[in-house]
Symmetry: C2
Subunit: 109 residues, 2 copies
């Protein structure tokens, strides 16, 4: 009655799920760049790059700034804190488990 499809990309996790978008993010980490330059480091067409950039902009990972007939894109790495925070929380859980294991081994010869 109400089957469901794939969810739209709504956060940083979804944004970095695609290898092309990761490449774009990595390139932008080295400095702001126009689309022409970004398209050069990737194997897909330029319109595809524009679409990927739109996804990244949708989740706030990049912003655009017009410069003449170019549009320079800028990375906002703080938007990846969402991912960092989740991974750190996992680490805390994991460390706690290791503590429990050590404690268990200490009490059992």
């Amino acid at each position: 009655m109400s089957p469901v499809g794939a969810p739209p990309i709504a956060d940083a996790f979804g944004a970095i799920a695609h290898p092309v978008r990761r490449t774009l993010v990595t390139a932008l980490a080295g400095g702001d760049k126009p689309v022409r330059e970004l398209a050069a480091v990737v194997t897909v067409s330029r319109p595809a790059v524009s679409q990927h950039l739109a996804v990244l902009r949708g989740v706030g990972l990049v912003s655009e700034e017009r410069h003449g007939r170019e549009r320079r894109y800028r990375l906002h790495p703080e938007r990846l804190d969402e991912v960092r925070t989740w991974m750190h929380a996992l680490d805390r859980f994991w460390d706690h488990r290791l503590d429990l294991l050590a404690q268990h081994l200490e009490e059992n010869p």
Copy 2:
């Protein structure tokens, strides 16, 4: 001529892109658990959980171990190093940019 669709989930990035799978991973960080218990912390049906677990298993993030009629799932957090490594590489790029900025400001009054 050769239009393309969405790419299949092939790595840890794709695996953690779905909120339900993140919840499952978080739950498993607290210890190995059978599917019944995992399905309890999520809003989708139990078969859907099985399918999500299959995705996680496909990228090596979890493994299964038969225990009677249960199947306990175990997390392998080292498979998230792929993500960690990428984020750290980003940080290095970013730090380098900050260094360049500081240097520039020092040389220009």
